[in-house]
Amino acid sequence: MSTRTAPMRLNLGRFVVYATLAFAVCFYGIPLLWLFVAGTRSEASLLSDPPFALGTWEAFTRTWNNLTSYNNFQIVSWATNSLIYSIGGVLLSLAASIPGGYALALSEFPGRKLILLLTLIAMITPSTAVVLPIFLEMNLLGLSNTYAGMILASGFFPFGVYLTYVYFSTSLPKGVMDSARVDGCNRFQLFTRIALPLARPIIALVAFFSFLAIWSNYFLAFVLLSDDKLYNLPVGLTALVSGSGALSNLPSNDVPIKKPEVVLAAILVVLPVLLIFMAAQRFVRSGMLSGAEKG
């Protein structure tokens, strides 16, 4: 070994970094861990055993059956709804964001700066602030309380337009576009044959973020949907909790939805996001970094 290798020492800076990281892991990780463990336990175990005690397979399957079969498999249809809204909304937001961002980045037309500015404003406006106007609009169009209305409202994703704009204006090599023009691409082919195939990372990134936003959107669905058959998972979960009295301290009723079932429902909401993040992680990271360097 070379004697010039610096010994691993725990200096103050390193200590602070690790301590902060450890704190963050505990602070955010422990509740999540608890959630997954609690899903396997019975109600009695939740009340008496230590917080991280593991439950049993029987307890888990019983809870699972109680939850899924309750009210004629209501939660399954909510999950399906969530999936429909998310997929529809993601497709819609992609269909709008990718060409929109491309046009803003690569063409000069009157009003381009204004549209960019409006996109930015729309992006930083809290989405909850526009829920009421969207509700009124959907009412006017007769689309409130429909799949189409919910998908249409979910597809509004200015952040995606902005992300795409940044990606195309920084990462698309100008020479490649010029070369494609010389080769005979018209404007449409420039987009479909050159820009789009090169935009895979940004498509993944926009899809990921918009999925995340739509899947966990509570307020929009709460306002737009009044028919409980159309609920998505977050709204359904709330309805389930308040309807069953599972988390209140009232005398027990005969509804089979107790604390374990509520925990399991919460896992159903969280799990797809976690899985998709793990699968898309590499894409998401490369998408976020790709603007930083020349292609």
Partner: protein, 371 residues
């Protein structure tokens, strides 16, 4: 019929004018090189011919047809870019075939033409690779292959070799030269590298500030530069330029005093000069002679006392940089070895017939007589 004709072509970005009234006719099969410093407008002019930049005034004809407002793909040109500009998501074969596919050429014909281009450029083993797996030289060959398959009327090259390292650049330069010989197609080539310009060009177009400064065969630009810009730009190391002033005038002749050590005087053939004119005199580094300390000055030479500042020995050639009291150091090219050392006091010999004279506006008044 000329291959490319530019008639009073101009280009401006808002109030900023980048190309001003360019007139140029390029013959079929000619290899024309645009040279100039960065910002001279050479690339812009090429991109205007390609159709990648709009034209603000004048018109462009290719093969007799007015293409001023045509799309790049309708002009019968092919272009090779400095950045190679390969399509990263296609393999070499598809990169080369892309423009043929867009033009809806039949599959067999495409295959035939791609294979032919690959053969000419020795790319056959690489057809299945993606651009990321290629070296710089291979990428540039693919870019050239992409241009060849179109059978263009004109090839446009925009500094195609500047991203390559020195040895590869020499090799690719020879390859482009071979290509021009084999295909016989008109080529327009933009570079700031004057070695490329001198070696490749049938004619050089020297550009500065968006204007053509001089057009001609390389050696003519070297021997008889029209103005100070061309004099300073063509030739490496560059021509020595010295300030001077007309002090005496006879018929057809003028005596010019140099702004230099000992204010030497030269008698030059200058019919148009008047006493008091400020001039610039230019002498190529290989035309200056070093006269050792005690030797007598050969007849016909004017001696200029100087001190050696630095010496560059390249083996076959030695460059000496001397301080002679002129505004810039004088560069002298000595063939073979020289035992000069920094600090030596020497004299520089100038012959009147080797001097180019430029007036205050920079235009040539007299060129050196060719030996």
């Amino acid at each position: 019929m000329a291959a490319v004709e530019l008639n009073n072509v101009s280009k401006s970005f808002g109030p900023v004018s980048v190309i001003e009234g360019v007139d140029l006719t390029i013959e079929k099969g000619e290899f024309v090189v645009f040279v100039g410093a960065s910002g001279s407008g050479k690339s812009t002019l090429l991109r205007m011919i390609a159709g990648l930049e709009t034209v603000s005034g004048g018109d462009i004809r290719i093969d007799g047809k007015d293409v001023t407002f045509d799309e790049p793909s309708d002009r019968g040109i092919a272009m090779v870019f400095q950045s190679y500009a390969l399509y990263p998501h296609m393999n070499v074969y598809d990169n080369i075939a892309f423009n043929l596919k867009l033009a809806r050429v039949g599959r067999e014909e495409i295959d035939k033409r791609v294979k032919e281009a690959a053969r000419i450029l020795r790319l056959e083993p690489l057809l299945g690779r993606s651009p990321a797996q290629l070296s710089g030289g291979q990428r540039q060959r693919v870019a050239i292959g992409r241009a060849i398959v179109r059978n263009p009327k004109v090839f446009l090259f925009d500094e195609p070799l500047s991203n390559l390292d020195a040895s590869l650049r020499v090799q690719m330069r020879l390859e482009i030269e071979r290509l021009h010989r084999e295909l016989g197609t008109t080529m327009i080539y933009v570079t700031h590298d004057q070695v490329e310009a001198m070696t490749l060009a049938d004619r050089i177009v020297a550009l500065d500030n968006g204007r053509i400064q001089q057009v001609g065969p390389p050696l003519e630009l070297y021997a008889r530069p029209n103005n100070l810009f061309v004099a300073g730009f063509i030739g490496s190391p560059k021509m020595n330029l010295m300030a001077g002033k007309v002090v005496e005038k006879t018929v057809g002749q003028a005596v010019v005093e140099l702004v230099a050590n000992a204010a030497p005087r030269l008698e030059l053939a200058l019919p148009d000069a008047t006493v008091g004119d400020a001039l610039t005199l230019g002498v190529r580094p290989e035309m200056l002679t070093i006269i050792a300390g005690d030797a007598t000055v050969p007849s016909g030479m004017t001696a200029l006392p100087a001190r050696v500042e630095s010496i560059e020995r390249l083996g076959n050639i030695t460059f000496a940089y001397l301080d002679a009291g002129t505004s810039e150091l004088l560069t002298i090219q000595v063939m073979g070895h020289s035992d000069l050392e920094p600090g030596h006091a020497v004299r520089v010999g100038i012959r009147a017939q080797d001097v180019h004279v430029f007036n205050a506006a920079g235009a040539v008044m007299t060129s050196a007589i060719q030996r």
